[in-house]
Amino acid sequence: MAAGKIDPMHQFTVEPLVPLHIGRYDISLTNSAAWMLATLAVIALFMWGGMRRQVVPGRWQMAVEGLTGFIDNLVHVNIGPEGKKFTPFVFSLFVFILVANLLGLLPLAVVPGWHAFTPTSHFSITGVLAILSFSLVLIVGFWRHGFHFFSLFLPEGTPIYMAPLIIPIEIISFLVRPFSLALRLFVAMMAGHILMEVFGSFIVNGLSSGSVLGIGVGFVSFAFIVGVGALELLICALQAYVFALLTSLYLNDAVNLH
């Protein structure tokens, strides 16, 4: 990159790797799709290595059992015994988001022309994930409770004269859920990557400027970016956890109706 101009948004461009058109539809294999496939491959390898069902588990099996046990516990605490059948869904969401986030942090840019891409830093991807979990809430809610599901909008014990105020608020807060789910993940990922890109450019521009001040700025930025890198690892895990947690809370609403 030329010194001076910092372009933090360039890393989010979706480029076709294998161009493919059917009729008027562009279904090229993009770098986004390629990274999602890589995510799937990593997850499959991880799970395959740990599902040996040995009586005395090895390290790998312990890692997989720890992960599944973590989500199993999360679902059990938040939904109760009825939530057992949602564990695979919440687990898939959690592991996909976690691995996609972490793969996006790989320092692949040391190979010229390569750079890591984070599928979860795009609203189209996180939006689809959020719609998946929101529509599951709707399906489960109406399946189990029929039109009684609408009582979700009027918490039990509300004075009836408060209903005209409470119902619109509850409806809005219900309808905002998919947006808040998608927005949180997407913006958290994008903000972290912009921050790393900007401070990485500070290092490059500062060191290449040659002046004492520029080199000082470069070293300070380097120290900062090490800390930000550690924080990003934390954020990756935390956002995946928050997504799984909120999904199970919303499912709890649909299963148990308050």
Partner: protein, 75 residues
């Protein structure tokens, strides 16, 4: 004032919201620690609520960030 500079000032003003959300996130974790140290036995059971509160406080900061980005790159 021309539109380009007003845009930059507006994006800067919108970014204040992320700092305010930082206060909220700090408040959530601070209050959690405050009460967790008083009753450590009950702390583990409340982690779900801790992260729920964190997520809700953080979302507002992220929305401020989104508004800043919208002002910068969309309009």
């Amino acid at each position: 004032m021309d539109v380009a500079s007003a845009k930059l000032i507006g994006a800067g003003l919108a970014a204040i919201g992320t700092g305010v959300a930082a206060i909220g996130v700090g408040f959530v974790f601070g209050q959690f620690l405050n009460s967790a140290l008083r009753n450590p036995a009950a702390a583990d059971g409340q982690q779900g609520r801790l992260f729920l509160g964190f997520a809700l406080a953080e979302l507002l900061g992220l929305m401020a960030f989104t508004v800043a980005l919208l002002i910068l790159f969309v309009f």
